[in-house]
Symmetry: C2
Subunit: 331 residues, 2 copies
DNA sequence: ACCTGTATTGCAACCGGTTGCAAAAAACCG
DNA sequence: CGGTTTTTTGCAACCGGTTGCAATACAGGT
């Protein structure tokens, strides 16, 4: 089945080293030898075994792409951008699905067995310790959509969730709402913790406004809908900042089912700006997270860390902005 | 950084073979040696290099997962199921994003360089020739969501799109509609070609019913919405079978925006039953594609082919069924 | 204790490449 | 043209494992 270096060398009448060299960037080969080798390789349909060469070069060009968010529609966009971005740089994503797993040990072991050059942890719900386990194992790692800390142990790329919370608060304040609320994702998610904190911080400047906070059990449609249904049993707020878009859409659904109007009776602002938020029959006002930039930066950072592993941990946060659509009344 | 076999052997005071054997299933090692080796390995934090061993065993446990559907929400579910299913069997998905690429040559070369044990092409829009390119290169391959042919050159797992077309037709007929239509995806997609064929075939038995056919430019919300807007300029049909769910939701949006009621003025039936179809504010009547079974079977089949490469190409089709929701009037 | 059959072990070659080094070839130069 | 410098080449060792084979250890039977 497999055509090897040796086969090509024999056919071209040169040494194995010569063949190896024609296929390695910047090695010393004469034009004549190269031509002979290339012809032989073409005839035989040879292409070098990346895994075998990784053994000596120490580089596999494999990047572990680890996530536990296989249910949030935004992650389809995330995977699309990551896979394309990695491919453009000649890197290959080895996908790891971490649903209902929180112990990093298995993933670390597995990805080390495959000698990945680096790892990208793409998750807004995993704790920082997860990515740190990779760093501790000596694997270059970037936590995308992770939490910013002042003394990071690991590269983080994402958004300033606290600032987003503030931004949402300001959007509601600017519209003159007097009773507002945060409908968060699971309390264990760092993203929800930070968004809540920013929201409350900004609201603290407006003591005349009533603020309340509740949490859905997951970043999911069903959880958002269930939580909003619960809220509608009592006296709901005038406007809600929801933990993310999919939660927002669940809440939206509950509100419409209850026969209330959006944004007249209840306003909603989400966070992410996933594809469905743009759908005209959803038309969700939301805070856009600049996915493409975050992912671009994550890849840059993991590549840079592979090249200089001693590199100091760094945090890169990207600014978000409100996308005005139909679920929050206009100013 | 890396602890190797040799390090463990030295520490345990045994040969390298002994270490290798304790880590290979079914090899001959005495309990005493095994204990010594395991202790040494634990002390050193050793875990075997999967790539190095693949060199001699010829197995990498890497499976290429190739797709060009990174925009259809159903594929998030698909990736979730594939990655989990593969992981459960100790296989690792190497993800390849084929957006706007139609030439298999690059993917074939790349996946061969990484010596993947097998490939799963997960796409309802790629031509059969794509998967065949892998088979021609001697790589075990399964085409998931592919087209059934009577003399397959490659394993295919999916649904009978022609039967689905008929099923949709019957659903519309049963509801007494007299003017129906198929709003397909891109004409180049084999799935659309087959659904259309089945739909028309079944409708041919009802000459009293008027049938028309149009195509959206992609399986996407925007394309579905645009096409329905165009249709609404003229005299629309009473009910539409849409090429897939995301197209249906686009069409739904256009209908609602035009101030028409669903299902009273226009009925819609989709295909896939993706997560959003269940969302109560969408509530799409659709034909469910049994994703989990399809993916399970795809993995089984690729594994079986890896074990017996000479295995005859096989087609496995799974039955679909109508999921009644709110976009088609009840019988 | 001795013989035989089975289990365990280490040696050495191999998987498909890469690379330091020294020899050979080519290019340069007066 | 001979001497020197620079390029190109092949040899052989190595990357981190696996495996056939022969040697050794052990167990069972009498």
């Amino acid at each position: 089945m497999g055509v090897t270096l040796k086969d090509v060398a024999e056919r071209a009448g040169v040494s194995r080293s010569a063949v190896s060299r024609t296929f390695t960037e910047g090695a010393s080969v004469s034009a004549r030898t190269r031509a002979k080798v290339e012809k032989a390789a073409r005839d035989l349909g040879y292409s070098p075994n990346a895994l075998a060469s990784s053994l000596t070069t120490g580089r596999t060009k494999l990047i572990g792409l680890v996530s536990n968010n296989f249910h949030n529609p935004i992650f389809l966009e995330v995977f699309d951008l990551f896979t394309r971005g990695l491919q453009e740089r000649g890197l290959r994503p080895l996908l790891v699905n971490l649903s209902n797993e929180t112990d990093p040990a298995n993933s670390v072991r597995m990805l080390r067995q495959y000698s990945v050059d680096g790892v990208i942890v793409a998750s807004s719900t995993l704790p920082p310790s997860f990515a740190e386990a990779f760093r501790d194992a000596g694997v270059p790692v970037v936590h995308s959509f992770g939490r910013y800390t002042t003394s990071p142990h690991v590269h983080v790329v994402g958004i300033d969730n606290i600032a987003c919370g503030r931004m949402a608060a300001q959007a509601l304040v600017a519209r003159g709402h007097r009773r507002v609320a945060f409908l968060g994702g699971p309390q264990s998610a760092t993203s929800t913790q930070d968004r809540e904190r920013g929201f409350l911080e900004a609201m603290a400047l407006h003591p005349e406004i009533t603020v309340s906070v509740t949490h859905a059990s997951a970043y999911s449609f069903d959880a958002g809908r269930a939580e909003m249904q619960r809220l509608l049993q009592g006296r709901p707020a005038e406007a809600y900042f929801c933990g993310d878009d999919v939660l927002s859409i669940g809440a939206l659904s509950a509100i419409q089912e209850a026969g209330l109007r959006v944004p007249e009776d209840i306003g909603i602002i989400g966070l992410n700006d996933m594809a469905m938020a743009r759908w005209q029959n959803i038309d969700l006002t939301t805070i856009r997270q600049p996915l493409a930039e975050i992912i671009e930066a994550s890849i840059d950072l993991v590549v840079a860390t592979i090249e200089r592993p001693e590199r100091h941990p760094e945090t890169r946060l990207f600014p978000c902005r409100v996308i005005e659509r139909g679920t929050l009344r206009q100013i």
